[in-house]
Amino acid sequence: MQSVNPEGRLATLKNDEMEPNNASSPGMTSAEQPIQPGQPVGQPNAVQSPALAMMKIVTKNIEAYFGRTRALRNVSLDIPPNRVVAIIGPSGCGKSTYLRCLNRMHEVAGGTMTGSIQLDGEPVLDLDPVILRRRVGMVFQKANPFPTMSIYENVAAGLRLNGMRNKRRTAEIVEQSLQRAALWDEVKDSLGKSGMSLSGGQQQRLCIARTLAVDPEVILMDEPASALDPISTAKIEELIYSLKDSYTIVIVTHNMQQAARVSDFTAFFYVGELIEYDLTKNIFTTPAKKQTEDYITGRFG
């Protein structure tokens, strides 16, 4: 517990309040009693710890289904604010499904879920999905700029389609968003060109700018760099690191080095279950579970 703060990253917050639970082990804990998220290990009764209220997103006992197939079983995980949480695990382990539950895009793909998700204490399932998604933005694996829109229109899309009429304000937000996404200098002279005319890495940063423009609180990233070359990947990673002062970021990645580089916390999923959730440093140096260790050392997955 005391080794939480090697780089002073958590300096503003009390260590034992911020450290997520040392994971719900299916064999041990969840079978006997549901794990209380945000609850420091060794204090099983401190359910209403202040940490819970400080968490940006609190998920409890999430079970997600596609038809009758269960994609997630009993996942409880807390996302602290202004941090990057990485979700790793082999293909088909439910990482993307978990991510898509958080902004209810899971429903769009025809899935169903049970359990509770709270965003700043508000139950997400009671929120209107449209309102929720303006607060919880998403960046997809494959860059998907709107093909019928210019670069400018792509970034402005979220604003315009949600009823923004003020042209000057729109222009300001577009510029800010492109700058935050580290794309402004590359596209400022060609804002009228098609979004599809950019390179893959630029398109992905355009999509990030588009997400930033609606000013979400949380950004979900579903393997945002998996289709990109190393240089573009490095740019996206830098970007993620620079965004966390203003946003809470949850990133799904196949790339363990990437998780180690960009994230503060890492969750390891395996066949629909959360195996371990801890500081990224701990996961990659001293994982508590054998499965985690096997995965990060490349013995399976």
């Binding site: 902004n103 895009m105 769009v108 999905p129 449209v130 309102i131 929720l132 998604r133 303006r134 607060r135 933005g137 998403m138 997809f140 494959k142 998907n144 700029p145 709107f146 093909p147 019928t148 210019s150 899309a157 979220g158 389609l161 949600n162 060109k193 098609s194 599809m196 005319s197 999509c207 588009r210 997400t211 609606v214």
Partner: protein, 278 residues
């Protein structure tokens, strides 16, 4: 060893190429005949003059050209909104029993002979109004367009990658706006093709117009009165015993084909994407 395989390969390819040629030949013949016969008969009078009484030569089909335009306009007015909206419905929400039934019935409708559609329009519009009218013709043509346009719209919307829809929804854009402002523009090119196919089919129909719009030898733009059309004109003039009328039928056929071609061109230009496709 592989000689036999090569023979089989060659004969299959030859068969395919020959079939292709067999398909093109009648098409080329139709075009060639219409253009060769029609172009000599088309003159300025054809577009500006009214039909002359029996026995007099010359004259034109100004009323039929305008009439075909009005009929197509009315047909689009009745047919297109219904078709495009039901296409959207089928693509976005059509994965249920109602959608499946609708899809099946639309396919059945596309197989119904056009003359039967004409009878339906006759019963629906002509009988209550007690006389033939452009309106009745428009209803018939609108009904004819529905299956083609509906199914093309559905297919084209389904072809829009799911990722665009997800991108818009993830921005907090409501579903209806996603469909209207993101999905529809992406599918516009394909939908236009569908609309054109529907229009072209409607423009070429004679049977359903015979007892709805009837035809008219005089100038009329009233939707409640019988109206002339190029196809009915061709039908009347091509079987007439006068050489001058036969000549004018060819001219009408040529004009009809040209109209569809020009319509096609205009639509392409108007709906052209701002951004070159990659």
């Amino acid at each position: 060893m592989y000689y036999w395989r090569k023979v089989k390969n060659f004969s299959m390819i030859s068969l395919a190429v020959l079939s292709g040629i067999a398909v093109i030949v009648p098409l080329v013949m139709v075009f060639y005949y219409t253009i060769a016969q029609g172009i000599g008969s088309v003159n300025w009078d054809f577009f500006t003059q009214m039909p002359k009484p029996v026995g007099e030569t010359g004259g034109g089909m100004a009323n039929a050209i305008v009439g075909t335009g009005i009929l197509l306009g009315l047909g689009s007015l009745f047919g297109l909104p219904i078709s495009i909206f039901s296409g959207i419905y089928l693509a976005e929400f059509g994965n249920n029993m109602f959608g499946k039934t609708l899809r099946f019935l639309t396919d059945v409708l596309s197989g119904i002979p056009s003359i039967v559609i004409g009878v339906v329009a006759f019963v629906l519009v002509v009988l209550p109004m007690k006389h033939f009218s452009a309106l009745a013709g428009g209803v018939a043509l609108g009904l004819l367009m529905i299956p083609t346009v509906t199914r093309t719209t559905e297919e084209m919307i389904r072809l829009v990658p799911h990722s665009y829809r997800e991108a818009a929804l993830a921005l907090g854009v409501p579903q209806w706006k996603t469909t209207l402002r993101v999905i529809l523009p992406s599918a516009m090119k394909g939908i236009t093709t569908g609309v054109l196919l529907g229009l072209a089919r409607a423009a070429g129909e004679t049977a359903p117009l015979l007892f709805t719009a009837l035809g008219n030898r005089f100038w009329s733009t009233s939707v409640t009165q019988p109206i002339a059309s190029l196809t009915v004109f061709i039908y009347d003039y091509a079987r007439a015993p006068f050489e001058d009328w036969n000549r004018q039928a060819w001219a009408a056929a040529f004009v009809l084909i040209s109209l569809i071609f020009i319509l096609n061109l205009i639509f392409r230009v108007v709906t052209r994407s701002k951004y070159a496709e990659r």
